[in-house]
Amino acid sequence: MSTVASTEPGTRPTPPAGAMIGRISGRRVFVDRLATVLVWAAFVLALVPLVWILWTVFSKGYALLLDAHWWTNSQARISPRREGGGAYHAIVGTILMAAVTALIAVPIAVFTAIYLVEYGRGRFARVVSFMVDILTGIPSIVAALFIYALWITVLGQAREGIAVSFALVLLMLPVVVRSTEEMLKLVPNELREASYALGVPKWKTISRIVLPTAAGGIITGILLGLARIMGETAPLIILAPYTAFINNNLFDGNMAALPTLIFTNFGNNIQPQLDRMWAGALTLILLVLMLNIAGRFVARFSAIRR
């Protein structure tokens, strides 16, 4: 009687005693081992820039972050060429603009993905999908120019934080739509069919069964989108110039943000500015990191195990 082969990936089934099947040829073993080495090497190679960049930003930027003033004070009344002040105005600005962007973009994106996967059929669905593809291709600078022309030239408004949020919505939408769409497509059909068989209406099926199943991946997509837009500098430069003062009002006046804080301090090789630049970069990374970790936390709790 032959022994039952184990089906765990990665283990070779042991040939039954006395079987005619010989051992695996040396060449195949070599190729297998080579593949393992290469794959491990790829991973290590991918980690190198990550560690390097995090180490660089951390080592150059941590000093200012230890100062309590960094987190509570703005740059008001501080000459940029001197030390002092903090980044509160930039931190709050970044968070506010990102929050408003997500608030606008995520519902639209998720519903668009739902439309494409669950409802769409025929020409309109193809057009919408086509349009999302186009949206993926807009460079941030062009999105910023469009909002500039729309909000400022045509509507006559001033340059303010909300305009940046609109531009960032354009950039976040396609990322979230595509990743949500992929996730929704990967939800097995049996779940939907079982739900319909029990008489659950379509909208409940989608919101209670399909979405939670895909939730982990959707949240990852949202986070990738947020991470991307938090670092976008071009819309900020055009639509909401930097100011050293605190401004919590998205609808009035210049608003500071971490990317523009970094950009303003870039280039001048004076120590206080270099310090501020790296500290701002570290703050931005920490902010995004916190979002990432929080997101994984949420995803772990809410995802229905597949």
């Binding site: 004070n73 009344r77 709050v92 400022i152 110039p241 050293a244 605190i246 006046g253 280039g267 929080a294």
Partner: protein, 379 residues
């Protein structure tokens, strides 16, 4: 239900981050009293502290100077919020004409030629922005443009406008070229290749440098001065700081940067011989160039015409004057007082002296008194 748990967690995170918004302070009392314009601060003549908010935009060349001035000015006037966004002269003028900022900083005065495609000239557009009143160009910050270099073993370098033009246009390619050696008879110049760095972005610094070359070495530099660097040799780096960094990190590098950037990056600064002997760059020698400038505007419009081909000894000829472009009338009442106070502060003799420490030239008294008259006339 799992969904409501998610919602609760999410709500918690949101509330937490909103709480962060509530605590923060603009109150940065400066602890260092060693600010160079600190002396001026105590002598400030404004009796009652000014308040309100003011936004300016424009030239990057004067950014360092304006930032310093804003820092000490807002310390003396804690209720005032002044911000200056250095996006470039063109962007500044555009925003000013569009009514988005209260004043613009520009490396050249408002143009009087009509714009492309029949659009209004900058002067006319500004007049429209000021509700029919003229806009004035007030020179407040003078920044020398230095020819920064990084050549091993060379501490002193003398160049003439013609040689400068040839270097930047790629006609002279090594440092030990006879044309350069002739001007520097004492020094041993290495055979390193010359690496030219220029501004890749549109810039008033480029325009003024080109104006100088066109005025002082017209035989060598024939292009029409514009904000875009005309040469084809070398590399373009982002902003003066990028150029300075490029020069600093390349042996044999040379570039044109504002003096403050050259100082910050510790580049060698070339002495310029415009025909009256080699002149070292200093606040005084650059200031003399502004002193010799001819007024080209009427009344309180103080645009200046610099003489780039000057042969007067002791004058450093490559100077950039940034104008603050303001409405003579027509700015909102609450902002007018603040604007006048701020401009007067920058025009103060002490402030100007302080600017010299960070790489700017001091404006001569003759010019400053005219500027003060004009500021007083703003209403």
């Amino acid at each position: 239900m799992k969904l409501s748990r998610t919602a609760r967690l999410g709500g918690l995170a949101l509330a937490g981050s909103l709480a962060l918004v509530a605590c923060g302070s603009d109150n940065n009392s400066s602890s260092d009293s060693s600010s160079t314009s600190g002396a001026a601060a105590s002598g400030s003549s404004s009796a009652a502290a000014l308040s309100g908010s003011l936004d300016g935009e424009g030239s990057t060349a004067q950014k360092n100077a304006i930032d310093e001035a804003i820092a000490t000015f807002t310390q003396n006037n804690p209720n005032a919020k002044v911000s200056y966004n250095a996006t470039g002269s063109g962007a500044g003028i555009k925003s000013f004409n569009g009514g988005q900022v209260d004043w613009a900083g520009s490396d050249s005065a408002l143009k009087t030629d009509p714009g492309d495609g029949g659009a209004a000239s900058e002067t006319d557009a500004a007049k429209q922005r000021c509700s029919g009143n003229d806009a004035w160009n007030l020179p407040l910050v003078a920044g020398p443009i230095s020819v920064g270099y990084n050549v091993q073993g060379v501490d002193k370098l003398v160049l003439t406008p013609s040689v400068i033009a040839q270097i930047f246009l790629g006609k002279i390619t090594t440092w030990n070229d006879p044309a350069i050696a002739k001007l520097n008879s004492g020094a041993t110049l290495p055979s390193t290749k010359i690496s030219v760095f220029y501004r890749s972005d549109e810039s008033g610094t480029t325009e003024n440098f080109e104006k100088y070359l066109a005025g002082a070495a017209p035989a060598d530099f024939t292009a029409k001065p514009s904000k875009v660097w005309a040469g084809k040799t070398g590399q373009g780096a982002a902003k003066s700081a990028g150029v300075a960094q490029g020069v600093k990190s390349t042996d044999g590098g040379v570039g044109y940067v504002e003096w403050s950037n050259a100082k910050d990056n510790k580049l060698g600064v070339a002495q310029v011989d415009n025909g009256g002997g080699a002149v070292e760059l200093s606040a005084e020698s650059a200031g003399k160039a502004v002193e010799a400038a001819q007024p080209a505007g009427q009344g309180n419009d103080l645009r200046l015409k610099l003489d780039h081909a000057t042969k007067t000894p002791g004058v450093y000829p490559i100077v950039l004057v940034t104008y603050e472009i303001v409405c003579s009338k027509g700015l909102a009442a609450d902002k007018t007082a603040l604007l006048k106070g701020f401009l007067k502060y920058v025009a103060q003799a002490d402030t100007q002296k302080g600017l010299a420490d960070i790489g700017y030239a001091t404006l001569p008294d003759a010019v400053l008194s005219k500027v003060n008259t004009a500021i007083d006339a703003i209403s």
